[in-house]
């Protein structure tokens, strides 16, 4: 277990691949930390209100440095999806979707769709935020609106 200079707790077991570790860096850590609290933190320009994803510290629209992490509500719709072959041993069907947020203009997330069968997914389907936990690491996922038990 490491504790970084910015106080983020990272277990190397859960982030074994170098690629994953490299994604969590000094530019992206604040957003990632919010996600670990089950909050859909996203970069947002405080000068021109542009939502920014992937996480950045400078606004691509107005070039301001005044970028902070704000929590988005996680309502969205499916832009495109695919049905990857599941890892060996798993029989659980997997849907990978690009989800565009309805209330954070321009933000799209790559995420798993939960609580629905592959045959039920449609382009444009309205979804809401869920969370996928994998070995203690929280990542945003989505599910059909109203599908929560």
């Amino acid at each position: 277990m490491f504790y970084s200079r910015v106080g983020v707790k990272i277990s190397t077991n859960h982030l074994g691949s170098g690629a994953r570790m490299a994604q969590i860096n000094h530019d992206t850590a604040p957003v990632w930390q919010a996600w670990q609290r089950r909050e859909l933190g996203l970069s947002r320009c405080q000068a021109c209100q542009t939502w920014i994803h992937l996480p950045k510290l400078i606004c691509p629209t107005c070039w301001s440095d005044d970028v902070a992490v704000e929590v988005a509500d996680g309502r969205g719709h499916v832009v495109a999806y695919s049905l990857p072959r599941s890892m060996s041993g798993s029989t659980e069907p997997v849907v990978t979707a690009v989800v565009e947020l309805d209330n954070a203009d321009g933000v799209r997330l790559l995420a798993r769709l939960l609580r629905c069968l592959p045959g039920d997914v449609t382009d444009g389907m309205a979804v809401e935020l869920a969370w996928a936990e994998d070995a203690g690491v929280m990542t945003p996922a989505f599910a059909p609106i109203g599908s929560a038990a």
Partner: protein, 390 residues
């Protein structure tokens, strides 16, 4: 359009720091933003993005910079190997051929987990696993031995040509003297020859002060044709030509003599495309990723092989603790990689040369400077350029 020359119209840099507190993407974005703002060109006009990415991918892809700066009209993206003048030449040739009109060209380095102690202990600095360094372990099957090839190059130079650590100290001290006046430089404390001689050995005879230290940072420039450049507020700095050479034996790990051979071939190629000769140039920026490389570049520029040490001795101005070649040509006025750190990998020389040729170098300004030669790299990867005040 191919008759035109290309000019540098904007320069920008991030801070250079041992621990910048931000990721490599932010450093590149800061540098590129500053360069565009310095050029006075609107961001909608930027239509080319070319960068050195292979040492620090994947956040330093041209596509990342396009996204990070919100550039809507980019029609040319390309990458280049380090060091940085390779990217500059790729960008310049894209402008020259009309592939784009206004190109951002950038270079950044970052203290990853496998390049520094800070990086190793910081979970937010894990290497993306694409670290690439020319000559370091590419197809080498031998499993042991120091990959610091330059220490063997230095020892061979000392044995063959009688150069001494005092000779190499002049390079390190000269650069640091320049850095004392350079707010960008990470190492700014004055250095003496005695400091150099007392520095700890890294790979004998290569000591700590022969090496550029890992530093976070990024530099960017904006390029366009000389014609378009004339319409802008800032004085353009014109690229006269580039030189590059990959002689047959160009792997410094196995052929310690390769760096000297390559530098000489590079300089011959460079000046064959210019009416100028090396001694005509007003400021000299020999690459100094390791001080031995500066020695070899200076020899390639000005002396026969192996005569660098006496040339440096006669160029040394004791009262100023710096070199003045032929009594007039200063060397690495900003302090080089040795003072700014490995963040720059030679691009610091481009930044400084542009400031000098614009007359914007402040306390470092070389009066009346009209031309500069910037050499970059070593045997397997080298590219040099001549820059002219417009």
């Amino acid at each position: 359009m191919t008759s035109s020359k290309v000019a540098i119209i904007g320069i920008g840099c991030s801070e250079f720091a041992r621990d910048s507190g931000v990721g490599p993407g932010t450093l590149i974005t800061r540098a590129a933003r500053a360069a565009v703002l310095d050029s006075g060109v609107s961001k909608d006009a930027i239509d080319g993005v070319v960068g050195v990415y292979s040492t620090d991918s994947p956040t330093l892809w041209p596509a990342y910079v396009v996204d990070a700066l919100g550039l809507p009209n980019v029609r040319w993206g390309d990458t280049a190997m380090p060091p940085s003048v390779l990217a500059l030449s790729s960008a310049a040739q894209a402008v020259m051929t009309g592939s784009c009109d206004y190109a951002i060209c950038y270079h950044g380095k970052y203290r990853w987990s496998d390049t520094s102690i800070v990086g190793r202990d910081d979970p937010l600095r894990q290497s993306p696993g694409h670290e690439f360094d020319p000559n370091l372990g590419h197809a080498l099957l031998e499993g042991s031995g120091s990959l610091l090839w330059s220490s063997r190059v230095m020892r061979q130079h000392m044995a063959k040509h009688g150069s001494t650590r005092e000779d190499f100290a002049r390079i390190a001290v000269n650069n640091r003297t320049g850095a004392t006046q350079n707010p960008r430089a990470w190492f700014r404390k004055p250095l003496t020859v005695a400091d150099y001689l007392n520095a700890p050995m890294i790979d004998d005879p290569l000591c700590l002060l022969d090496c550029d230290a890992p530093v976070d940072g990024a530099i960017a420039v904006v390029l366009t044709t000389e014609e378009r450049a004339r319409d802008l507020a800032k004085q353009p700095v014109v690229i006269e030509c580039f030189g590059s050479a990959l002689p047959l034996r160009n792997d410094g790990l196995l052929w310690p003599e390769a760096d000297g051979v390559a530098a000489r071939a590079n300089i011959e190629d460079l000046f064959s495309r210019s009416d100028l000769n090396a001694p005509d140039i007003d400021i000299c920026y020999p690459y100094d990723g390791f001080s031995i490389l500066s020695m070899l570049w200076l020899e390639a520029l000005y002396t026969k092989p192996g005569e660098g040490a006496p040339f440096l001795a006669e160029s040394w101005v004791e009262s100023e603790q710096r070199l003045k070649l032929f009594g007039r040509v200063p060397v690495n006025t900003h302090g080089g990689n040795l003072s700014e750190g490995r963040a720059t990998q030679g691009f610091g020389s481009i930044y400084e040369a542009v400031q000098q040729l614009r007359g914007e170098a402040g306390p470092r300004q070389v009066a009346g400077a009209r031309s500069a030669v910037v050499t970059n790299g070593n045997a397997g990867v080298n590219r040099s350029t001549i820059l002219l005040a417009s």
